[in-house]
Symmetry: C2
Subunit: 320 residues, 2 copies
C-alpha cells in the first residue's frame, strides 16, 4: 500500500482529530505544554534482526518500541503526551502486518495516556527499522538526571533484575526456565507511576536498559561518584532464582544483561522513608541494593564486602 | 567504535553543555518553550539506496536530512530549536564517515540556529537509516496549515520548480543539463526566513517535497478546495528551461518530480501586497502561479485555460 493510504487507513486513527496532530493531516505537530511544565523528549530506535527477530506478533514489537521510550520518561519523572513514529519498511510489508503493529500502538497509547502526533514512512531494501520520538512533560524546575547522585545517597532499584537477560538465554536454548522470564524480555513494563515521585525525592535516576551494572556505571560517571552494589541484595524473581540455581555465571548474566526497564535510583537518607512510602502507594516493589560513595566506578560486593569481578558488565545492549 | 565512544567523541560536541541536552549525557532532552510560543515538531527519515546512494560525502547526507526537516518547519512559520537524531548503521561504518556526517550537521545547525538534543544509535545488517525529529517554535495561536486555503486565495510559490527532478535525470544519465540542477537535488535550501511571515499573512502553506502538483493536491484535499495552476507561470530556473527545451514530458517531470523544498502558499487578496513585500525583505523569489477555487483537486491549465493531463502527478517521492 502506498504511504498516503497507509497513513490514512492505519495510522491516522491513532492520532487525535484536533491539535496537536490533526489526524496526521499535516506534516508537523503543534503543541503548547501546560504552564509550569517542561517538555522531556526521548528517542529509541529498533531494528529487525537486532532488537527483534521479525517473527514476533507485530503488535508486540510496536508495544515494546513505545515502552522502551516510556521507560526513559519514567526515569525523568515525566508523563507521556505524544510520539512521532518513523518507519523504514520493505515494500512487501502487508497491510495486515501494519494494522497489527498499529493495534499494538493503540493498546499501549491508551494504557499509558499518549497519542500518535506524526512521523514518517519510507521504503527500504533492508530490515524493518522503527524510530520513535516520545514527548512528555514534567513540572518545571524539578528535573532528575543521571548526574545528580551524591556520596551518602542510598541506592534503590524497582522490581526484579535479570529476568529479560535470562529470558533471552531461554529463547536461545542456552538454559531452561520459566516463560515468565521470556515475557519480561518481550514486553517490559515501564515504571511510570513510581517515576513521577522521583523529581521531588531522588537525587539521580536511570532506567536499566543496558544492564544493572552498566547503567549504575552511567550514574557513577555522570555524577562523579562511586556506586557500591551488594550482590546478594539485588532482587531476583523466583523464576530467575530457579533459572540461576546458584550458578555464579548466570547471576552475572542477570546483573549485566540489560532490557530490565526497571529504575535505578539514588536517594538522600532524609527521603528514604518518603520514597519507600511512595513505592507502596504506587504498588512498586523497591529494594535497597547499595550506597553512593566518594570515588568513581561501580563495585559489586559479596557478602564479605569483597569486590567481585564482573568483566562482562561493560557490554552494551546484549542483542547488539 | 562502540555506541558510547561514538556519542562522546563525535556527537556530544554538537550538543550544548547545559539544558536542554547536557552534551547528551542523559537519555532525554528537557525543554521549556518561551512564554507565548508553541512547539512545532516534525520528523523525516532517510534510507540508503532510497533517499541517498551512500556514495555521497557523508556531510551532505547529514545536511540534507536536517534541511528536509527544516523545510517542514518553514512551511509552518516556525524557527528551529533542536533535533534528535536516530541512526541505524552497519558495524563496519568507520569513525571517519561518522565524523564527516557530524561535521555536516555542525555546519548546518550553526547556519540554521539549532542544536543536537539527543537520539539513538543502533547497529543494522542493512542499509543506513537516519531518522531526524526536529523541534521548532512559533508564536502561539498563529498557525498556518495545509487545511486553511479558501476559495478566492491567490496561489504563490517560492524559488524555482523542477530543478531537483531534472537533476535526478541528469544523475541517471537520462538527460543532459547543468550541474546546478544536480546541486538542487543534493542539497535543498529551506525557506526559513520567508516562512516566518506565513502565519500572519497566508491561509495555507506546504513545502514541496512530493512534487508541485502532488503537494498542491494535499493542500486542495485538506482545505476542501480546487487549486488551479497556470503551467506557463510556474517559475523555472534558466538551467531548467535549457534542460526542458520545450519538451512537454520533461516539463511534466519538473512539475511532478519532487524534492524542490520550495514553499507553496495560498494568500487572501488583501495580504498579497504584504506577502510580496515580505518576500522582498527576505530576498525570496515569489511567483503567483494560480488560484484557489470552490471544488476539489488540482487543475493544471495551459495558456488557453484548458486542463492539461498530468498522469504522473500522483507519484509519491520520486526515488521510492
Amino acid at each position: 500500500m502506498n504511504e498516503f493510504d497507509l497513513i490514512r487507513d492505519v495510522f491516522a486513527p491513532l492520532s487525535p482529530s484536533g491539535a496537536p496532530a490533526f489526524s496526521l493531516k499535516d506534516d508537523a505537530a503543534h503543541f503548547t505544554p501546560a504552564p509550569g511544565q517542561t517538555l522531556v523528549i526521548t528517542n529509541d530506535m529498533m531494528v529487525e534482526a537486532v532488537h527483534f527477530t521479525g517473527d514476533e506478533p507485530p503488535g508486540r514489537i510496536a508495544r515494546k518500541l513505545l515502552r522502551v521510550n516510556l521507560s526513559d520518561l519514567a526515569a525523568k519523572g515525566a508523563k507521556p503526551c505524544g510520539y512521532l513514529l518513523a518507519m523504514a519498511i520493505p515494500a512487501s510489508t502487508g497491510k495486515q502486518w501494519l494494522q497489527e503493529f498499529a493495534d499494538g500502538l493503540r493498546r499501549d497509547q491508551e494504557g499509558f495516556g499518549c497519542a500518535l502526533w506524526g512521523g514518517d514512512s519510507v521504503s527500504t531494501s533492508g530490515p524493518k527499522v522503527f524510530s520513535l520520538t516520545l514527548i512528555g512533560e514534567r513540572k518545571e524546575g524539578a528535573g532528575v538526571h543521571r548526574g545528580g547522585a551524591k556520596a551518602g545517597d542510598k541506592l534503590y532499584v524497582t522490581g526484579t533484575i535479570g529476568d529479560a537477560a535470562l529470558g533471552l538465554k531461554i529463547l536461545r536454548g542456552e538454559i531452561a526456565g520459566d516463560s515468565s522470564l521470556v515475557a519480561r524480555l518481550e514486553l517490559p513494563t515501564p515504571r511510570m507511576a513510581f517515576g513521577t515521585g522521583l523529581p521531588d525525592l531522588a537525587h539521580a535516576a536511570i532506567d536499566i536498559s543496558d544492564g544493572l551494572l552498566a547503567d549504575a556505571g552511567h550514574l557513577a560517571r555522570e555524577s562523579h561518584v562511586r556506586i557500591d552494589i551488594q550482590a546478594s541484595e539485588v532482587p531476583l524473581s523466583p523464576a530467575a532464582e530457579r533459572a540461576i540455581a546458584g550458578n555464579s555465571e548466570l547471576l552475572l548474566s542477570a546483573l549485566t544483561g540489560g532490557d530490565d526497564y526497571e529504575l535505578l535510583v539514588t536517594v538522600p537518607e532524609k527521603n528514604v522513608v518518603a520514597l519507600t512510602e511512595f513505592a507502596e502507594e504506587t504498588a512498586t516493589p523497591l529494594t535497597a541494593i547499595g550506597d553512593v560513595r566518594d570515588g568513581s566506578g561501580v563495585c559489586l560486593l559479596d557478602d564479605q564486602g569483597r569486590s567481585m569481578d564482573y568483566k562482562r558488565a561493560g557490554f552494551e545492549h546484549f542483542q547488539e
